[in-house]
Amino acid sequence: MDGFSGTGLACIRSNRIVFAGLDFAVSPGGALVLTGPNGSGKSSLLRLMAGIARPAAGSILWQDAPVSEDPEAFFARLHYVGHRDAVKPALTVRENLTFHAALRPGAADIDGALERVGLAALADLPARMLSAGQTRRLTLARILATPAPLWLLDEPTIALDYRAVERLRAAIDAHRAGGGMIVASTNVPLGIDDAATIDLAAHAPAPDVLWADEPPDILSDEPR
């Protein structure tokens, strides 16, 4: 398949199966939304997709080739936004963004990215002065600063006001119109057009069942 996919994925965290037997596929220009209650493994799945953690079973494919064959080439194609902001309070807004852009391949457009998230006026302010929503916008500016075909977004709208959510939606639409792919986890409707959805709750393991039927009566003396 021409795109990003995974088959039979399983995730185990501290000896507990979070999900198992999960398949996904995103084609160029496509979007995938991960939903599910807290703790159902949305973030864990995104970390598997990003290559930060390794799946306990199954494989993740980029254009039908396992990403584990050449992880660095795969890392060059993605942007990952976790639920932690990775913003250094001691550095200015511009310095934070410039650093992250230098880690990724491709020509960086720092000022353009700051403009698009509405932080251009605050570019030379130390990041410790930013509010929670502004910090989140700085984090999202990372994905706009350098080009990458795959965006992995973990709850991108947290702390954003409705205008910033609108801007994010516009950025996502523009990215998809250019053939980019998006996987986003969310608890609120993102309003992404014709996105496929995976409900993580449907992939949770069955609760531990020790006895499927009545427990055998091992205490009785009657012959069985």
Partner: protein, 221 residues
């Protein structure tokens, strides 16, 4: 390579902005060394005899203060995850952190050491070798300390664990570093000890960034 220099530059910039954290190591170095004349008495010959050992032990302990925050901040704020999935070899990322650590901790220790040498009545003949041995030795300490910091990342009481991991490993640095200065003071050539330190530095340079990379990948997972 742009990622390498960006990381070194960022760490140095943060160290300069948070200057009190950076200075803490040097202040500890000076104060700890200054306690010895109070403890063993201010007799100049005795201090001169002990100076190389005091300098090396206190420099080592001062450097230990800096390792717990080497990777911890990046680990806490999520930057480490992004470094792990940056499209450059992770050992190069680790090496960038180590280089930045040496520039912000090893180099200031190197500058402060001769000053403390004067305070401890170190023989004038020893200074050249002291600086050469310290330049090599602080590099080894940065490399081994970074490996310890990466291995203890994410564990509770990582500071104690870090000391238990790192201090035994840098005993050779202590022996040959102090030995080199002692030899120079005694009028002998210190080249043997310096060559051993150089060899240790090259060995650590080959092993530690790679070991750091493995430990960081595990910690991010």
């Amino acid at each position: 390579m742009s990622g390498f220099f960006a990381l070194v530059g960022r760490d140095i910039r943060i160290a300069l902005r948070q200057f009190s954290d950076t200075m803490m190591v040097i202040v500890f170095f000076v104060i700890a060394a200054a306690l010895f004349p109070f403890g063993v008495g201010p007799e100049p010959n005795l201090l001169a005899r002990m100076a190389p050992g005091i300098l090396w032990v206190t420099a080592l302990l001062a450097a230990m203060l800096s390792f717990d925050r080497l990777f911890q901040n990046d680990y806490d704020d999520g930057t480490l995850e992004l470094l792990v999935i940056a499209p450059q070899p992770l050992w190069m990322t680790a090496l960038a952190k180590i280089v930045a650590h040496w520039l912000t901790t090893g180099l200031p220790l190197l500058v402060a050491a001769p000053v403390i040498g004067i305070m401890l009545n170190l023989e004038p003949r020893g200074y050249g070798v002291l600086i050469a041995a310290m330049a090599l030795g602080t590099g080894i300490i940065s490399l081994v300390g970074a490996l310890g910091a990466a291995l203890s990342l994410g564990s509770r009481r990582s500071g104690v664990l870090l000391s238990l991991l790192v201090l035994p490993l840098v005993i050779p640095v202590l022996i040959f570093g102090a030995g080199a200065v002692d030899a120079a003071i005694g009028g002998f050539a210190a080249s043997q000890q310096l060559l051993v330190l150089g060899g240790l530095l090259i060995g650590c340079l080959a092993v530690c960034p790679w070991g750091c990379a493995v430990a960081l990948r595990l910690a991010a997972e």
